[in-house]
Symmetry: C2
Subunit: 109 residues, 2 copies
DNA sequence: TAACTATGTGAGTATATGCTCACTAAGGCA
DNA sequence: TGCCTTAGTGAGCATATACTCACATAGTTA
């Protein structure tokens, strides 16, 4: 694998990593219905604002969300809604995993 | 956000994290064309087998890949091909980001 | 102007992740 | 049987990430 290919995978992995966190997934789910300010995101998720701010910065850098200023508030919105598709793909995967576990437990009886 | 919702986001994040690594993305891309043994994956990617083995274990646990034994070899294959869709979504995102950067650089002149 | 609100950041700490080396285990073959 | 190949794992280290507290900054409003 040559150096350019490797670099490309690193860039892609950065985007994946920007999404791969429970709190950030919750933010993405919340933004699905429309743009929100940091304070409301923090309130909705139940995390400290400074922490939410950092997580938003990670997603911003990766290009997953975008933001605009409105007075005191910074309004964030989803920039790559196709992430939602993958989220439902992951939900399916979890469901299948759960059913496999259930089947395995049945086999224990 | 209640406890169950939080737990669900953690499970989903685990799957995302299982994919969010340059080497693991390279493996997924390689498996796209069909199942492969660890030795060939390691050779193709140019990484140590012990390291590749660990990465495969992470993806296996998350349900992203599956494996079967064939004599000496352990053959891995993609279990959640829908990841490939998200990969192309990320590729688009990167392309857009690049074009934005290019436009910004033009503005510098 | 002074107090207040929303946001972001520096510093410090705890934890997680990734990598390598050395070793073990399982299977194939002379 | 003895040696080879393939895969996986324990230990140790280096680095990255997440979180919190305290503080700085920008904008709002009395």
């Amino acid at each position: 694998m040559d150096k350019n290919t490797r670099k490309l995978y690193e860039l892609k992995a950065e985007v994946f990593r920007a999404v791969a966190h429970p709190l950030r997934l919750a933010v993405i789910d919340f933004l699905k219905d429309g743009e929100q300010c940091v304070c409301d995101i923090a309130r909705h998720i139940g995390a400290q604002r400074s922490n939410v701010s950092r997580h938003l910065a990670v997603m911003l850098k990766a290009g997953v969300v975008e933001h605009r200023k409105d007075g005191l508030r910074m309004i964030y919105s989803l920039k790559a809604p196709c992430i939602l598709n993958f989220l439902s793909c992951v939900t399916d995967l979890l469901r299948r995993r759960m059913e496999q576990n259930r089947a395995a437990l049945k086999g224990l009886k």
